[in-house]
């Protein structure tokens, strides 16, 4: 007789790949930050440069928070991970809204620069990361850096 275990009662133990991915994205984001600020500065002036820095900080905070929430919840239970992913989305969207709302009237912020930086850096950093992740998942032997992208972890029942 087999014992029925609900998938939601399971937990995903082991390494947290999303933390690795998130750290990688944040590292790359910090590397390109001066370039993004200079480009925004050329287009929108000094306010654009500061706004681009703020926008990039918001994007990196968003990635870090998403990874932290999932890596916290996954070893506890998959049901909690599901809830945290959904409510985390709402919370992060709310935090981004609040952070932009608070600086909307500040003199050194240009809202078009801030908004465009948020979209461009979010998508740009994701596509940049995808290049490495795709190679790592499809051809594990050819992954760019084996230390950086460890293999899959096992899921266990608690």
């Amino acid at each position: 007789m087999t014992e029925h275990v609900s998938p939601l009662a399971m937990a995903s133990q082991g390494l947290a790949p999303e933390v690795t991915v998130s750290k990688d994205i944040i590292r790359r984001g910090l590397i390109i930050a001066p370039v993004v600020m200079v480009i925004a500065g050329v287009i929108w002036g000094l306010t654009g440069a500061w706004s681009a820095g703020l926008g990039l900080a918001v994007v990196l905070m968003n990635f870090g928070l998403a990874a932290a929430l999932i890596s916290w919840a996954a070893p506890i239970s998959l049901a909690l991970m599901m809830g945290v992913s959904l409510f985390g989305y709402l919370i992060r969207l709310g935090l981004i809204s609040v952070s932009v709302y608070l600086v909307r009237d500040v003199s050194w912020v240009s809202l078009p620069a801030l908004g465009i930086t948020i979209i461009v850096t979010h998508l740009g950093l994701l596509f940049w990361e995808m290049r490495f992740i795709a190679a790592s998942l499809a051809f594990p032997g050819l992954r760019p850096n084996a230390q950086e992208y460890p293999s899959s972890s096992a899921a266990e029942t608690p």
Binding site: S12, G14, P17, E18, P112, I118, S152, A154, E156
Partner: protein, 90 residues
Amino acid sequence: MEAIARLVAAEATPAELKNNAAAASAGYAYGLAAIGPGIGIGYLVGKSVEAMARQPEAAGMVRTTMFLGIAFTEALALIGFVVFILLKFA
């Protein structure tokens, strides 16, 4: 409230009408842009949990793909959000 009352009384100036339309459009843009990714993330995470339960040894790979999927889906909400702030505040 005063602007709405004037709208009802058909006394609104073109500038007020434009501002009101922009405010309403911004609200719709943000709300509609947040609904789609919400459904998408729910579906994505649900399927990921199913995959991890079926094949626990692939959990790491599934979590990596899931995280990237969430981030890409969220980009849609961010686009809606940027449209909102540009319509509302810029």
